[in-house]
């Protein structure tokens, strides 16, 4: 392992981590407020989680256990490579089990298993400004946040109802944090919004390209915006997961063949495997927890259902996913 001696612990230099920790502390002190920070170049392109990786790098310690999910799955490219990255530069233990992780970096999902106090959820955020598509001027949106002028956010929801008869926003659904700042919960499905409300875990959001960090401290109120006569509601699925039979979880549609065959399966792979008591799941997890070695070589043949190992379809319909 002499080759990694050239890296500082967790890749970033100590001054940078200090700067990011300051931004994180400020974010925690002002829930939902977007704190600018001097985002660094990371050894990955923008759009692949540079913000989340910098946040994780700044808070991770040698005793932490890291889990990385991408659209709920532990075994997709983004998740595998970020996990491998931290295993290499911080030599931390990694896991796929939600309960065992102390830090969970996520791209667009919150695990189905409720998080507990002491866990930290790090979101990768593409566009931190919820008002961006309504008001393109950054100077103006900052002023709107400062003066709490959030009427415009409801204009978007109004447009949804006028066009579709209901609030058609299904991801990046705007929330109000602790009765003050309107925040973009990153492009998670709105299904996950209620999980943010008064969560015992600390939730941190990092946007690398946009150079913003924000946070929701534990047990903070997170309320999804809505109208009195069109209240907020989450997606429902009319069938359970095709693999584990779970209900009231977020499902991904998996295409099976070219003849319209498809099935709906849990987007949270760890949750699904746990429920099925899948033996490959635990062995896979153990393998992943071993220090060093190339991770992410999980072979599709190791699981009985090949479709599950395919990349689940992305939820961020048409929007640049990050």
């Amino acid at each position: 392992m002499t080759d990694i001696a050239t890296y500082n612990f967790a890749y970033l230099d100590e001054q940078t981590k200090r700067m990011i920790r300051r931004a994180i502390l400020k974010g925690i002190a002002i829930p939902g407020y977007q704190v600018p920070f001097a985002s660094r170049e990371m050894p990955m392109p923008y759009g692949w989680g540079t913000g989340g990786v910098q946040v994780t790098a700044s808070i991770i310690g040698p005793d932490d256990v890291l889990k990385v999910i991408d659209q709920g799955a532990d075994d997709t490219t983004n998740a595998v490579s970020i996990r491998a990255f931290f295993k290499k530069v911080a030599k931390v233990a990694v896991t796929t089990e939600t309960a065992k992780a102390t830090i969970i970096q996520t791209r667009h999902r919150i695990p189905e298993q409720p998080l507990t106090a002491g866990q930290v959820l790090v979101f990768q955020v593409p566009i931190p400004e919820p008002l961006r598509f309504l008001e393109p001027r950054e100077t103006e949106t900052r002023k709107m946040h400062a003066l709490e002028e959030y009427g415009l956010m409801h204009v978007k929801l109004y447009e949804d109802i006028a066009r579709h008869g209901r609030i058609a926003t299904t991801y990046a659904y705007p929330v109000k944090v602790e009765g003050r700042y309107v925040m973009d919960p990153s492009p998670t499905p709105k299904f996950d919004n209620p999980k943010m409300h008064r969560s015992p875990a600390l939730q941190l959001f990092g946007a690398g390209r946009e150079k913003r960090i924000y946070a929701v401290p534990p047990f903070t109120g997170v309320v999804s915006l809505d109208f009195e006569d069109h209240p907020f509601e989450v997606q429902t699925f009319d069938q359970p997961c095709a693999l584990c039979g779970a209900e009231n979880v977020y499902l991904d549609e998996v295409i099976l063949d070219d003849h319209g065959g498809h099935m709906f399966v849990c987007s949270d792979t760890d949750h699904c495997e746990k429920r099925r008591g899948d033996p490959t799941s635990s062995s896979w997890g153990d393998r992943a927890e071993g220090a060093g070695g190339a991770d992410g070589q999980s072979s599709p043949s190791s699981t009985p259902i090949p479709a599950l190992r395919a990349d689940p379809p992305h939820n961020g319909e048409g929007k640049e996913a990050e």
Partner: protein, 258 residues
């Protein structure tokens, strides 16, 4: 009309470096009164309007506004939050170019409803009903409510802009050349509409225009500006029928007779 004015402007000046925007403008505006500011381009009308609507800060002078609770407030000492709140509740601003005052990418209904949502209305059905009502008041068909203003003609856009401004029941509306760029028949209908709304709602308005006919139709009182100064002011009919200042006489005699 009450005994107290709505707006008191005293010795207002705005300089752009050494150049004069407007200088030493003093007047009172009463509730329900329409004041026209006329003059050639570059005479400082728009600068004055922007100062009054707090879009620009003047170099010197004061302006006080009587709030709904009867309190007098000095406009340029209010915090930005208060000014912006005033701007979207008790005031309106009708731009010459509707694209400046509308959100071109959201529907007409949302354009009208935005101010309601900004002051805290969170009931979709009610917001929509109000939008429908206001669209009919400005003679826009109800079935255009979900269309974007981009699909509207110039006259319709201007009427939509007026509806968007009046929906919160403001007491004072600023208008910058509200009929500019419209053809005469559309202009005539818009003026009819404005006159009716202003009378029905008891609005006070400050209308900047270079069109003396618009001023005559809409306003009770008039200020004539030249090179940033007010050269003459008085009742509209008096100023137009019996102009005293040489510049006003020139202005009035320059109207084309058809």
């Amino acid at each position: 009309m009450t005994d107290e004015p709505l707006l008191r402007v005293s010795a207002l000046s705005k300089f752009y470096g050494s150049r004069v925007g407007c200088e030493n403008v003093t007047f009172d505006l009463w509730p329900g009164e329409v004041l026209a500011v006329v003059g050639e381009s570059g005479s400082g009308k728009t600068t004055l309007l922007n100062c009054l609507s707090t879009r620009l800060l003047p170099s010197s002078g004061t302006a006080s506004y009587r709030m709904r609770d009867g309190q007098w407030r000095e406009l340029y000492r209010m915090s930005e939050a208060e000014r912006r709140f005033l701007m979207r509740t008790d005031w309106g601003f009708v731009h010459q170019n509707p694209a400046d005052g509308l959100r071109m990418t959201v529907s007409a209904g949302a354009n009208v409803g935005e101010r309601l949502m900004a002051v805290g209305d969170r009931h979709y059905g009610r917001i929509r009903a109000t939008a429908v009502d206001w669209l009919s008041r400005v003679e826009i068909d109800e079935d255009r409510i979900d269309d974007e203003p981009r699909a509207f003609s110039g006259g319709m856009r201007q009427r939509l802009q007026i509806a968007r401004n009046l929906v919160t029941g403001p007491r004072l509306v600023f208008m910058d050349e509200p009929t500019g760029g419209l053809d005469v028949s559309v202009q005539a209908r818009l003026l009819d509409l404005l006159r009716r709304l202003v009378t029905d709602l008891g609005l006070a308005a400050i209308v900047v225009t270079h069109d003396l006919a618009v001023a005559r139709l809409l306003s009770q009182r008039m200020m004539v500006m030249k090179d940033g100064r007010v050269v003459e002011s008085g009742l509209t009919d008096r100023v137009l029928d019996d102009p005293r200042a040489p510049y006003t006489q020139l202005l009035v005699s320059s109207i084309l007779q058809v």
